[in-house]
């Protein structure tokens, strides 16, 4: 068959676009090179729902982040994506940084965000008593929030699928035959994507390929931009550190990038990072000794007490930095091709707004993207967040289904019921990491010492074995 639209890349941006398009009468394919959705840049970011206060005013990014903040906030309410509205504070450590704060406040206002407030050192320590001595003042950004990036991606992709989009995982696009637009025969005139699992024909193609977006763009004959993978390494600290970090602690941005932040995570941990290192290898998601040392030094300067706690996890994510200061979203009517490039870490927040923008562009180009009448309700996602009630805490739920009373992963308190649900879901995990992103199982301080074998058995059997499920 020929799809009306093929969206390449099932990260947050691609999934949001596919979801938006699948809400119309159009036939949609969501094409993903990896075995799971959200397995590239989307799985390893700092998981902050941004107000957009520090974007460059007037850019597309500024507009879409501000819009996405509201869209995703509402969508999170509807689907149960965990969000914790902690707020943030930028901390100035010297005169130079202190002098920057009024300008940042003005910039926020130029971006349409008016809730920022400059605070003195006492107020900073009132907000974060565990902060190292020497803070001079700060800027409060009460609207910044933490969010579950994994659930966001899964919700959008699940929703796309329930609306009728075909999710084609393990389909890596290797080359493209660009269609000429004629309607002579079924696939003639359509663009054909030659993938590792066969050809996919589509009238329109949306490139949301993240780290691979420039290479795919080149397959359409363009030479517009280059993606530079920017590696960000992070430490996740033990939950016992969480009381030290009641809100997001941001550095004052400098010419050397945004710097290292300390943030609570939606799972009740504390995150320190990221580093920023430009690479050439688009698959280099390993961590490094130099990165660890850098983070440890930063941590010591920011919050020495934090380093007394255990490190639960470390990971590295790649951000799809491009050689331009803004998102690059462009529709080519001749090729019936839309590029969605340069969506850096803000894409978590802006994804739904990017989708809305792409749908507008396609509508202008003559594609009928208007919503159809019989849309299914948005999916209700399992709660992975500490702010809400988790199944192991839910009396009524355990009474109705004892599987929610059997804790399999002790550190993260993941129950047999949740693992069962993830394995039986509309979008089941392809591997252990996929199960971890859907349930938090094995993500805790023991990293599988207690539950690793049991969780592996669940994955391999595609269900929770009796001896793991208990006698409930």
């Amino acid at each position: 068959m020929t799809y009306d639209v093929a969206v390449i890349g099932a990260g947050i941006v691609g999934s949001a676009i596919a979801r938006g398009l699948a809400g119309s009468e159009l036939s949609v394919a969501l094409v993903e090179a990896r075995s799971d959705v959200g397995d590239g840049t989307s799985k390893a970011n700092t998981a902050i729902l941004h107000t957009g206060f520090d974007a460059s005013p007037g850019t597309l990014e500024s507009r879409l982040v501000a819009r996405g903040y509201h869209l995703l906030g509402e969508y999170a309410e509807a689907t149960g994506i965990p969000v914790e509205r902690t707020g943030a504070v930028l901390v100035a450590w010297n005169d130079e940084e202190l002098a920057v704060l009024p300008g940042l406040k003005e910039k926020a206002e130029a971006n349409g965000y008016h809730a920022c407030a400059i605070v003195d050192a006492d107020e900073v320590y009132g907000l974060v008593p565990a902060l190292a001595p020497g803070a001079r003042g700060g800027l409060r950004v009460p609207g910044e929030a933490i969010i579950c990036t994994w659930t966001t991606n899964l919700a959008l992709a699940t929703d796309a699928r329930r609306r009728g989009a075909a999710l084609l995982t393990d389909h890596r696009v290797e080359s493209v035959t660009v269609g000429d637009g004629s309607r002579a025969a079924v696939t003639e005139g359509a663009t054909v994507l030659h993938t590792t699992r066969g050809d996919i024909a589509a009238t329109w193609v949306v490139n949301a390929a993240g780290l691979g977006a420039d290479q795919l763009d080149a397959a359409f004959g363009h030479r517009r931009f280059t993606v530079t993978p920017r590696r960000g390494e992070l430490f996740v600290f033990d939950k016992l550190a969480r009381p030290m970090v009641p809100l997001i602690v941001l550095p004052v941005p400098s010419s050397r990038g945004k710097g290292v932040l300390v943030s609570p995570t939606i799972y009740g941990n504390v995150m320190l990072g990221p580093t920023a290192e430009d690479l050439t290898d688009r698959t280099a998601t390993g961590t490094s000794e130099a990165g660890f040392e850098f983070l440890w030094e930063k941590g010591r300067a920011l919050m020495p007490q934090l380093l007394e706690e255990e490190v639960t996890a470390s990971y590295a994510g790649l951000r799809a930095a491009i050689d331009r200061p803004d998102y690059l979203v462009d529709l080519d009517p001749e090729q019936r091709y839309v590029l969605v490039g340069g969506i850096r870490s803000t894409g978590l927040t802006s994804g739904m707004a990017v989708a809305e923008h792409v749908l507008e562009l396609l509508t202008e180009a003559g594609l009928d993207c208007s919503p159809r009448a019989d849309l299914p309700p948005p999916p209700r996602m399992p709660n992975l967040g500490e702010a809400g009630i988790r199944p192991y805490q839910d009396d009524a739920r355990i009474a109705a289904d004892p599987a929610y009373g059997t804790v399999v992963c002790f550190c993260e308190r993941v129950t047999a019921g949740e693992i069962r649900d993830a394995l039986a879901s509309n979008l089941p995990p392809a591997d252990l990491d996929g199960l971890r992103r859907r349930t938090r199982a094995m993500n805790g301080r023991c990293q599988g010492f207690y539950c690793g074998a049991a969780v592996t058995a669940c994955l391999e059997q595609g269900a929770v074995p009796e001896e793991v499920a208990g006698r409930g």
Binding site: V236, K239, L240, T283, T285, G286, T287, S288, E289, G291, F292, E310, V311, T312, A313, S314, Y315, Y392, Q393, D395, I398, A399, P402, A403, G405, T406, V407, F410, R413, L432, R445, C446, Q447, G448, F449, Y450, G452, A453, A454, T456, A457, E467, V468, G470, R471, G472
Partner: protein, 412 residues
């Protein structure tokens, strides 16, 4: 929440120390053991090799049989055992909330004994950088996979660490058909016991790489190799392998102890207790490797029997923690118990437990109070990294209850 329950003694954790405590107490009062695994028994459940039971059960047993023996002993003594149920937090001074398939409920007790055990630091907590491939495990996960689930592991493993448990990992790997290509330890030698050093070389044929660290793990999907760096020379060597087992480097599973606000020892990271195993919270006790990470299972179980006197005393008269603070001086990392009462009851087996970071073959141990040596002894066993160093508690006999902190130190 479902209806509350009240028991005389609540034991949190059904490993050797918790079960031994229950077995010793259940004859005289109502004891409830809450265990989050589906079957009680603790770590020996999945350590399917010999070496268990010598000091407490007076016979040499394999881990699973040993675990089962303590489980049976607790049940036979009349203790109630709630398996597959997890204590998730405190709802009062001696009251906890429990999640189980039968629902959520609160358990209040006259006395609470924490026996929550230890875990190994995984790769992340050791901050070993590199790729994140499959095939990187702790000994606990390895033994769960091999002994409880008969799962395959790789063919060539690097074992990180040189503690007793590291050799336990080697045995498990061998049983699973996986060769240990190197044991990498920061210490000069693969410490633990001379017996293991000899056996390691001769029988298990494990090449021990001393004075070194694993500084990088490589492999995108499955482990391909590790990079080992010599601490003295800085020379790096790549070792091909498909499995990495991070062993030992124990940390107490102390979440409940911390959330209850108990005084913790900075060295052990477990509760600071007196010789009778009382914590600073009245009616809250702690036993086993939560206190001394990590001694052998039989020593943990003997704690379980030892705490009984203090629990009974609390139930009868309300005794609270007492004694002079005992601290460790490097190279001793910690000493347990942390409070000892001069002239009072001695600690379990009349031993102070401690951990050393350097090898002292013929150690002299000194106790200092206010800068003055108040006790000294020579042990006929070495102080070796990788296992607990046991000190006769008699060195504290002349401590003055009215004076300050006592420091325990090593001399060669």
């Amino acid at each position: 929440m479902a209806e509350d329950r009240h028991v005389a003694v609540l034991v949190v954790g059904g490993g050797p120390s918790g079960l031994a405590c229950a077995a010793s107490l259940a004859g005289s009062c109502e004891v409830l053991v809450v265990e989050r695994e589906q079957r009680a028994g603790g770590i020996p459940r999945h350590s399917d090799h010999t070496g268990y039971g010598l000091r407490d059960r007076r016979r040499l047993m394999r881990g699973p049989a040993y675990a089962e023996a303590w489980r049976t002993a607790a049940l036979d003594a009349g203790a109630e055992l709630l398996e597959g149920a997890m204590v998730t937090g405190w709802t009062g001074d001696r009251e906890v909330s429990v999640t189980s398939p039968a629902g959520r409920f609160r358990v209040g007790a006259d006395a609470v004994v924490l026996a929550t055990g230890v875990r190994e630091r995984p790769r992340s907590a050791r901050r070993i950088p590199g790729d994140r491939p499959d095939g990187v495990l702790t000994t606990g996960q390895l033994q769960n996979l091999v002994h409880l689930r008969h799962h395959e592991v790789g063919h060539a493993a690097v074992v990180v660490g040189g503690e007793l448990v590291s050799w336990s990992a080697v045995l498990t790997l061998r049983e699973a058909g996986c060769r240990t290509v190197a044991m990498v330890t920061p210490y000069a030698k693969a410490e633990a016991y001379a017996l293991f050093r000899w056996a390691g070389r001769a029988a298990l044929r494990v090449p021990v790489v001393g004075h070194s660290d694993v500084v990088r793990i490589e492999g995108r999907v499955r482990v391909r190799s590790v990079v080992v760096r010599d601490r003295a020379t800085g020379v790096e060597t790549t070792v091909a392998c498909d499995t990495v087992v991070t062993t030992g480097d124990w940390i107490p599973d102390h979440e409940l102890a911390r959330s209850r606000g108990l005084e913790l020892d900075p060295g052990t990271r477990g509760p600071a207790v007196d010789a009778a195993l009382r914590t600073d919270a009245p009616g809250v006790f702690a036993v086993g490797n939560l206190l001394h990470p990590a001694d052998t299972a039989d020593v943990a179980a003997l704690d379980g029997a030892h705490v009984v006197a203090a629990v009974r005393d609390w139930l009868d008269r309300g005794g609270t923690r007492r004694g002079v603070r005992i601290a460790a001086e490097p190279p001793l990392r910690w000493v347990s118990p942390q409070y000892v009462e001069p002239g009072g009851e001695p600690p379990a087996r009349e031993r102070l437990l401690s951990w050393t970071d350097t090898l002292v073959r013929r150690p002299v141990v000194e106790a200092l109070q206010d800068g003055r040596v108040v006790g000294r002894c020579r042990t006929w066993w070495p102080a070796a990294p990788g296992r607990v160093f046991r000190i006769p508690s008699g060195i504290l006999d002349d401590v003055d209850a009215t004076r300050g902190e006592v420091t325990v130190r090593l001399r060669s």
